[in-house]
């Protein structure tokens, strides 16, 4: 049985690729702000998946969740940038490799 229309896969692939790019960015980049931007890219990839499913399932819950994801992304941006600024004021550096006060 065919559950999804063929077109759906195009949208899902685009969002999966975006998500993968975001993930790779988080893992490879060393600048705290760039890492944070990559996380935002991941969240936006998820938003694309959600609107796609919402459209193809003909169900509003997915679109509604997109708004919540956007809200959360905005709240995270506020807190995250505040933390990064506090750190920059103390250390004049936002390279995550140089944050190594803790050792086990």
């Amino acid at each position: 049985m065919e559950i999804f229309e063929p077109n759906l896969y195009l949208y899902l692939s685009v969002s999966a690729v975006m998500f993968a790019i975001g993930t790779l960015g988080v893992l490879t980049r060393r600048n705290a702000i760039v890492i944070f931007m990559c996380v935002e890219l991941m969240l936006n990839a998820v938003n694309l998946t959600l609107v796609t499913f919402s459209r193809f399932l003909d169900d509003a819950a997915g679109s509604m969740l997109v708004f919540f994801v956007m809200c959360v992304a905005a709240a995270e941006a506020v807190v995250g940038l505040a933390i990064i600024i506090a750190l920059f004021r103390n250390k004049r550096d936002i390279d995550v490799n140089n944050f190594n006060l803790f050792k086990w």
């Binding site: 998946t49 169900d59 959360v72 086990w104």
Partner: protein, 483 residues
């Protein structure tokens, strides 16, 4: 039925109102009453969650089946309010001694508990997500609370970046499950369609990554020690107990609601069992090598996550055991972190060296800390033993006997590093001893209540467990499991 819904969530509404009031009072510079009001908020929430009304004692669904209320959900609400309340006992004194007068923290603490209650009572993945993020964003700020302290900054940054990364996986998992099952609500998910669409395993896997990160299970644990040792100590205790309890309960509900209806559930339970075992071994082994008390407790909290994960493999009975475990764990770990905070000097880390001889110089302090540490180690007759007993018995009932035995072995081995602290406190001396100089009476009261509760729970478990069953209509689960 909207009015009925509002009555069901009165505890949460009360706590939100408290949080808003705290923000207003802070804005109008009425600051001396803030801890008191936050405390009233937590106590009020716990009292409102008690089954005061006819028919509120059974677990049911409200708001179009989006959240649980009553029954187990009430018990969880009380658990989380208690974790906030006892954090409060240690917080104001700690901030005063660190000479960092920060007043936003009380509203943050209240809103973090609101997020936790939503997270742990969610019957819908959307509510789970919102609760998780409400909680996490408050916790990021708590970790970075001391903005001129580089350690606190670093803890905040690590927690924030890794937490946001895990959130990305979590919400992607929700999106895939939603696409496959046609709904985010546990009550109306179409599991046959989910399996046929092939989105079950990717979606499930991504959501598991999100949850395992939040509970700091083995491959996703790396942030835990750094964040806990950089955060203000009483708040580290709050992160280790309340946030983990909420995440574990949401995790357990997720597993219990989704797995019974899918074919591959055996494999997923086995994966979680293996992760539980690795988490127990890793946490206990690395904790032995720690010099800093906060880092030691951070690794011990990883080990405790392993025990609760083992319980989650055991289905509905395991969920009950996990709730009980987190309840006791909250009492003992907030106490242990709080006492480390009490002996902490300004801008100085809690080191095992400084604690040598502390028990001889300050016997009451030493005795109370010993109760918390013995309880964490799971030594009878303290409550920590009872909670471990419930977890392992539920795992054995679910035929995870081998895992339970290995878990018991790691638990016994883990007792070593707790007892080492007690030995240092009573039988060793040092050149640079730390002193306990609290600025007010509240931490002492908090320690007294927590230690007394642990002793009572441990000595008379049956009295408490039958009350739990009776109050929250839990099908006599606890009564039957009590030895």
């Amino acid at each position: 039925m909207f009015n009925q819904d509002l009555i069901h969530i009165i505890p949460i509404l009360f706590l939100i109102a408290t949080g808003l009031l705290l923000m207003m009072l802070d804005a109008f510079k009425v600051r001396s009453v803030l801890p008191l009001i936050a405390g009233i908020g937590f106590v009020g929430t716990a009292v409102l969650a008690l089954p005061l009304q006819e028919g509120m004692d059974v677990q049911q669904l409200a708001f179009n089946k989006m959240i649980f209320t009553g029954g187990l959900a009430s018990l969880v609400t009380i658990l989380l309010s208690v974790s906030g309340l006892f954090t409060l006992f240690f917080l104001s004194d700690f901030l005063k001694r660190q000479e960092k007068p920060i007043y936003d923290i009380y509203a943050l603490l209240v809103f973090a508990v609101v997020g936790m209650i939503l997270l742990a009572n969610a019957n819908d993945l959307i509510v789970t997500f919102i609760g998780l993020e409400t909680m996490s964003i408050c916790l990021y700020i708590m970790a970075a609370l001391f903005k001129r302290d580089l350690k606190s900054n670093e803890a905040g940054l690590k927690y924030f970046l890794l937490g946001a990364f895990a959130t990305g996986f979590f919400i992607y998992g929700i999106a895939l499950i939603y696409g496959g099952a046609g709904s985010t609500n546990y009550s109306s998910m179409d599991f046959a369609r989910l399996q046929e669409s092939g989105l079950l395993l990717p979606g499930m896997g991504l959501i598991l990554i999100g949850f395992l990160f939040k509970v700091s299970a083995f491959p996703f644990h790396a942030w835990t020690p750094d964040v806990y040792s950089g955060s203000p100590t009483p708040l580290a205790g709050f992160m280790a107990t309340g946030s983990k309890a909420a995440a574990f309960i949401a995790f357990g509900i997720f597993l219990n609601k989704t797995l019974p209806d899918v074919v591959v559930n055996e494999k997923i339970y086995n994966v979680i069992g293996v992760i539980a075992l690795l988490t127990m071994i890793y946490g206990n082994v690395v904790a032995v090598q720690q010099k800093s008390l906060k880092r030691m407790l951070a690794y011990s909290s990883i080990a405790h996550s392993g025990y609760v994960l083992l319980a989650l493999c055991a289905g509905p009975e395991g969920l009950m055991a996990a709730v009980f475990y987190m309840f006791i764990y909250t009492l003992m770990n907030i106490g242990a972190f709080g006492m480390i905070g009490m002996a902490e000097l300004k801008d100085q880390d809690a080191d095992l060296d400084g604690w040598k001889g502390l028990g001889m110089r300050n016997p009451w302090f030493g005795a109370a800390m010993s109760i918390f540490l013995f309880s964490l180690a799971g030594i009878p007759p303290l409550a920590g033993f009872m909670s471990k007993y419930f977890v392992f018995i539920s795992a054995i009932h679910a035929k995870y006997t081998l895992l339970a035995i290995l878990g018991i072995i790691t638990s016994v081995a883990g007792a070593f590093y707790y007892i080492r602290v007690i030995v240092s406190m009573f039988f060793q001396t040092t050149e640079k001893p730390v002193e306990v100089k609290t600025s007010n009476i509240y931490p002492t009261i908090g320690v007294g209540i927590l230690a007394a509760l642990l002793l009572l729970f441990g000595l008379y478990p049956a009295a408490f467990t039958s009350q739990l069953d009776h109050l929250f209509v839990l099908a006599d689960y606890f009564t039957q499991a009590t030895p």
